[in-house]
Point group: C2
Chain length 321, copies 2
Amino acid sequence: MLTFDMIAQAAERLQGVVSRTPLLESPLLNNALGFRLLIKPECLQETGSFKIRGAYNKIASLDEGQRNAGVVAYSSGNHAQGVAAAANAMGVEAKIVMPTDAPRIKLDNTAQWGAEVITYDRQTCDRAQIARDIAEKTGATLVPPYDDYDLMAGQGTTGLEIAEQLDVLGAKADKVICPVGGGGLIAGLSTAVLARHGDTEIWAAEPRNFDDTKRSLEAGTALSIEPGHSSICDSIVTARPGRLTFPINLKTLSGGYSVNEPDVVAAMRILFTELKVVAEPGGAVSVAAAFSNKPALQGQTIVALVSGGNVDMDSFLGWMA
Amino acid sequence: MLTFDMIAQAAERLQGVVSRTPLLESPLLNNALGFRLLIKPECLQETGSFKIRGAYNKIASLDEGQRNAGVVAYSSGNHAQGVAAAANAMGVEAKIVMPTDAPRIKLDNTAQWGAEVITYDRQTCDRAQIARDIAEKTGATLVPPYDDYDLMAGQGTTGLEIAEQLDVLGAKADKVICPVGGGGLIAGLSTAVLARHGDTEIWAAEPRNFDDTKRSLEAGTALSIEPGHSSICDSIVTARPGRLTFPINLKTLSGGYSVNEPDVVAAMRILFTELKVVAEPGGAVSVAAAFSNKPALQGQTIVALVSGGNVDMDSFLGWMA
């Protein structure tokens, strides 16, 4: 189970380890939009995404014997760096299973956090199976990307911070919009926000053709998206909602937004020019959802969480040109 | 005079008006550099630069009669937006004298903050004189860009925040490096930091050929740089130190760094890729100074203030390509 108390406990564990990212806004942008847009920039978090919150909380919840046996995870990007950095902070050995063709910078960063990087061929191997085999052989604990309650509790500390920061501003959010891949971040975030501000609606944002959570929420049951699509939002292209995350999200979320790529690029551009933060495409879908639903949001207060900023300069230049 | 008490009072006035920008760092970048680099990103401040701090404190220090008569300022960029936004927040009328050929976005933003924009021809007119004439005719108070003690006190709140944030981290800075144009920001910052942490050295960072403060510090007297140079660091290309700022800086600063343009562009790139923040060239000279003095800084803790992030996308793409 995931409870508010688990999230509050995670927040205590994370104090001094992760950054309390600010809430940013641009009054001129608000005027142009006709609604108040507050940005929670988790791109400014250590390792460039929120992932270290959940990874740290998960590893901190292990007993000494488990920690001594190390942890293992599979990821091509942000989760890899989050687990590696969290393990490093606690002096725990980490093995990270990553595809051979992952971006060099992500392989290098993960290794620089002291993790052992184990590469595999994306075409012929099942990374989850490789990680499970390592866990079985070595006794290491698997840190899954989203389907874990301690992990979700760590990600949920973003929601606790949002609620506290809104209180300081004397503001109430009509909607909090959050990028969704497997649904671990929004499961934690929604649990925390709703415990504090019961009237706020929590909405998922996903790239078109990877809007499995939106479709599943509408159907009332977990659905898979059809295969064969690609997206620039590489950090959140999951095929179906998580086994543990979806039952939570079915209760806590008000719905989902599906956004197209030109709107994602436009959102990245406005985050750059107006708010001076760097977002990766998957991190900016929440802001893209807010922009493309402008008429429906008039007069409201919207919080959009930007989940990460790990984008290489060449790709960014290409999208903005 | 500028005193620590004036800065502490400014901090109280600014509470809830300006953002308390965080201190950001990247442990992997620290490892690569061999020193700890903490970034104070004033690019994330309202209006995209620190300028609103001083402008707000200056206007807040006026009596009611003065406020009713409005304020006037001259600036081609960040100070214009800072004064316009600060005046707007207090319901004070602002007239801003800006060159006809200022970037469209800066003219527009200043107007959108509700200020009356008065344009002039950069080749034939003296903007300071135009502003003084307006002040004389209308009774408006001139808000100068740096040579004013209340203004410096407002800018100094950055230093107070840095000292407090270092205390929370349990860290002590060996050096704080700050971009310098007319010297108002660093005069306030150095006064605040030294009142709290007397052993910390405060260093100016300037673009090559506009390093008038560095040269003046070395000479012990205010010197002008020779004319005829240009720089991408448009927000800090002053010809000589301020009349009121330099005597303060001569006492408080340990020295100055002069940086070249390729190092500024490299600093902007690393701020983008490693810290996910957007810096303008003039805002990044502090980080460029830290990078280009790597051997001398080994093992130290360095705070680099990034003073602004108002860069248009086309220019950014050009520099990064």
